[in-house]
Structure formats: C-alpha cells, structure tokens
C-alpha cells in the first residue's frame, strides 16, 4: 500500500518539478552564454518573469488564422509536459511510467511537432511555411537516428520501458562500451536538432531567413506564445533528463527507497541537469550555426553513429554469449 502511495506522490512531484524547473534551466544556458560573451546577461529567474508577462498580455490573432492556430499551443504544451513527466528524473518506477515506453515518448514529441508545423502554415505567410518546411526536413533525419538509439538501448536492456532500462544501466559495472558512447553522441546530436539549438538552429536569432523553430511561431503572441515557450523549455528538460537517466544514471532512486533517498537523488538530478545546461551554453558559444543543407550531413552523422553503435553492440553480445 505504501508503495502505491509513494509512487503516486513521486509521480505528482515529478510532474510539478519538470514544469517548475524548465524556465530556470533555459535561464542557466542563457546566462552562461552571455557571461562567456562578456555580457552580464539576464538574471536566472528572467524566464519565469517572461512567461508571466506573456500570460497577462492580449493575444493578437491574424485574420486568416483558423481554430487550429488557437488550439495548437495548448496541445503542444500538454504533449511536451506529458513527455517530460514520463521520463524518470529522480526516481524510477513511478505510478504512470508504464503508460508509455520510450517509443511512445518519442512519438508524443512527434505529435507536438505535427501540430507546431501545421500552426506555422495556418496564417498563410511565407515565413511560416519556411519554418514548417525546414522543421519537417530536420525531423525526417533526426527521428530515425533517435529511434535507432532507442532500439539499441532497448535491445541491450531487453525492454523498451525507460525505468527498466535505467535500472539495468545503473547495475552494470563501469565498462568502456563503444556502442554506448556512440549512442550517447548520436542522442546528443539529435537532442541539439530537436531543441533547435546551435548548430542546427539559433534560438536567439532575429534574422527570419536563418530561423527554423522561431519562424513557425512568428505570429504567436500573449498566452499562446507563453505556452509554446514553456513547451520548448519542457522539451529541453525532457531531453536532458533522458540523457541523464540513460547515460549518467548513478544515484537514481527507486520508487520505494523512501524520502531520504529521493531527496539525495533529486539534488543529484538537479545538479546533473544544471551541468548539462552549462555544457550546452559552452557548446553554443564555441560553434557556429550551420547552413540549412549542411544540417542534413550533421544529422547523417548521428544516424551513422547510432547504426554503428547498434552493430557493435550486436558484435559484443554475440562474442560474450
């Protein structure tokens, strides 16, 4: 009985945690980038202030927009939040973690992207179509690589459910597995592409012709824009949590370890996530954004790495049988 209470409680905490922490993580990245460029940068809590400001503003909707334009932000936000709650952060085996395995999580983000690209085309401007078209292209290359990484890990752990994979990887002895290293590199590249980060897309650009994600949300304002911003922040947290729980799972608690273990695991999780955000900031400052058609080659590398990792893990499994 207590186990069930713990798991519901843990699930609730995780749901609220990812929502609360998302603007702060993006704030960390922005602060790191600004400081490295010798600017003072926005304060850490600016993300929250921006969201509240946007929520209170009036929405201006184009004459030619349809109901899809107005409904999409809510759908995109809900899908991103759901995906973020399904990924284990500080505890595995939470109450609703069985409703979707890792393939479902990837597909939920696909649904969010579907609505986002449709919303970009809704108003009938050239920039919206451009953003949607480029985003679709990036998705066609990022998704197979992501799925190969997922397949690789699911084959290693004999399960496609994230808590089971995380538990399996925690109990493995620390070994230098090239296949896992390749999977990690591939997943990082896919995460950069999906979150519209440099070198795939510049989240801070003001030049419309260099935009991918920003171009799709050009017409949004007010509470709609707040929801979409929150959704992209949640997506970043989700990918960070995914990478952490798969490749840096040490210290993660299980659902019935009790509040003390949870607290330790929570602190570790927030620490790892902040570290990831700082690394992201460092990376974005050190590298330039690529031309749109070179993004294809970049994501092709992710695919190659993922496939190589898969081949090598088959080889290892065959040899050590």
């Amino acid at each position: 009985m207590t186990s069930s209470v713990y798991s519901i409680l843990g699930q609730g905490i995780q749901t609220l945690l990812v929502l609360a922490i998302a603007p702060a993580i993006t704030g960390v990245t922005r602060l790191v980038k600004a400081r490295l460029m010798r600017k003072s940068g926005p304060p850490l809590l600016q993300g929250y202030r921006d969201l509240f400001k946007l929520l209170r503003k009036e929405v201006i909707v184009a004459d030619t927009a349809s109901w899809l334009f107005r409904v999409s932000p809510y759908l995109i936000f809900s899908l991103a939040w759901l995906a973020a709650t399904l990924v284990p952060t500080f505890a595995t085996g939470l109450h609703f973690s069985w409703t979707g395995d890792v393939i479902v999580i990837v597909a939920l983000l696909g649904t969010a992207r579907f609505f986002q690209t449709l919303a970009g085309m809704d108003v009938g401007t050239a920039f919206g179509g451009m953003g949607s078209s480029r985003e679709s292209m990036i998705a066609t290359m990022a998704e197979p690589a992501m799925l190969l990484v997922v397949l690789n890990l699911a084959l290693i752990a004999s399960s496609s459910r994230l808590p089971v994979i995380a538990d399996y990887l925690v109990t493995q002895p620390l070994a230098i597995r090239v296949s896992l290293a390749l999977a990690l590199m591939s997943l990082v590249i896919v995460a950069l592409a999906e979150n519209a980060r440099i070198p795939v897309d510049n989240p801070a650009t003001h030049l419309e012709l260099t935009m991918v994600h920003e171009a799709m949300i050009l017409e949004y304002s007010g509470r709609h824009l707040a929801l979409i911003e929150a959704a992209s922040q949640l997506k970043l947290v989700m990918y960070g949590s995914l990478i952490i729980c798969l490749f840096l799972p040490f210290g993660i608690a299980s659902v019935d370890s009790g509040p003390a273990a949870w607290f330790v695991s929570l602190v570790l999780y927030v620490g790892k996530l902040t570290l990831a955000a700082i690394t992201l900031g460092l990376w974005e400052v050190s590298i330039a954004k690529m031309r749109v058609f070179r993004v294809g080659e970049f994501l092709g590398i992710a695919f190659i790495f993922a496939f190589l990792g898969l081949l090598l893990s088959f080889v290892t499994e065959e040899l050590l049988r």
Binding site: I176, E297, L308, L311, L319, L320
Partner: protein, 219 residues
C-alpha cells in the same frame, strides 16, 4: 580477460569511428590530421595487444606505427601539399551521404562475415579481425570515391593500418616482416611523392579525372 577485451574493444571501435571520420572529411588538411589520429589509435591498440599477449616486439610495431604513420608521413605530406599549393577542398565522386551508407553496409558485411567464419577463435581476436576487415574495406571505399591523388595515397595507407590491426589482433606477426613492410611503405611514399611532383610539373594538376583524359591511348 574481460578487462583485456574491454580495452581492445574500445580501441578497435575508436579506430573504426576514425576511419568513418576519414571518409567524411572534405578538406585536405583535415584528412591528414584524421589520418594521424588513426595512426595514433593504431599504435595504442598494438601496444595494448603487446601488453596482453606478452610479446614485447609488438611494442616496436606500435612505435613504428606512431613514428612513421603518426608523425613522419603526415608531416611529409603536409609539406608536399603546401609545396604543390593544393591545400584546398577535396572533391568527391559520390555524395557524402551515399558514401557513408555504403561504408555502413560494408561494415555490417565484414562483421557478419568474420564472426561467422571464426567461430572457434577467442573473442578478442574475432572482434579485432572483424573491425580490421571493415577498416580495410573503408580504405578501399575512400580510394574509390576520391579524385585527388594525395587522398588516394592516404586511403591506401589506411588500408595498411587496417592490415596491421588485423595482424596484431590475430596473435601478431614476426618483427622482420613488420620492419620490411614499414620500409616498403616508406619507399612507396617516396616514389609516390616524386611522381606526384612530376605530374604536377607536367600537367599543372593532380586531379585524376583530368589526368585520365591525357592518357596516351585515349583521344
């Protein structure tokens, strides 16, 4: 045993990834640098094999790989490239994407082939052989899909690296053979360099497609 397998698996896998990176590069100087990295990784892998198999003469092989292929040959080619004035992009016959897909297929083929054919050998040897065959095939692929004579030389050298990896993995080879192979590589490089200079002087280019057209038996 497991530690031996783990490190050798890591180094062999790293060499495979570097071979893929070699195909991906499109700037001549980057190709040289990647080749040097491949040679260094090869030296490390051979040194580890020397430790594990307890054969000190393999250390000499590792040293030769590091010295010759990791330092001397890249430096020499570097100088040659600057003297030829061709430190610019490499043109490719087939697009990068398709080349990489071929490379993947070749890797899968060699893995399946070697693992099937060597069912009775120890695990370390099987894996190193499989990856060595993949590196050899990737080197061939690199020679086929390039138009610049210098990168074709590097492709040839990377085939040789793959051969050395395979030979040391499968219980090593005699020191005499290794030294003679190394010398022949050095001579071959020398001859290559002389010819390339001559070709450049004569025809003002080292692009093999252009050279094809001025062959004697073709009008």
């Amino acid at each position: 045993m497991n530690e031996a397998y783990d490190v050798s698996h890591f180094l062999a896998g790293l060499m495979l990834v570097v071979s893929f990176a070699l195909i991906y590069q499109d700037r001549l100087l980057a190709v040289l640098r990647t080749f040097a990295i491949q040679a260094i990784v090869l030296a490390l892998a051979v040194a580890w094999q020397a430790l594990v198999q307890d054969r000190p003469n393999l250390f000499i092989t590792a040293g030769l790989a590091l010295g010759l292929k990791g330092i001397v040959i890249p430096l020499a080619l570097h100088r040659m490239i600057f003297r030829l004035g061709i430190h610019r992009d490499v043109e490719q016959v087939v697009g990068v994407g398709l080349t990489m897909l071929f490379g993947l297929a070749l890797t899968a083929l060699s893995l399946m082939l070697v693992l099937k054919a060597t069912a009775s050998a120890p695990a370390v040897a099987r894996e190193v052989l499989a990856i060595a065959l993949a590196i050899i095939l990737l080197g061939f692929l690199m020679m086929i899909t390039r138009r610049n004579a210098v990168t074709q030389i590097i492709g040839f050298m990377s085939i040789e690296n793959g051969l050395i990896l395979g030979a040391t993995g499968a219980r090593g080879m005699p020191l005499v053979v290794e030294i003679s192979v190394a010398f022949s590589v050095l001579i071959a490089l020398f001859v290559f360099a002389v010819f390339v200079f001559r070709i450049r002087e004569r025809f003002d280019t080292v692009d093999v497609e252009v050279l094809e057209r001025v062959r004697g038996d073709r009008t």
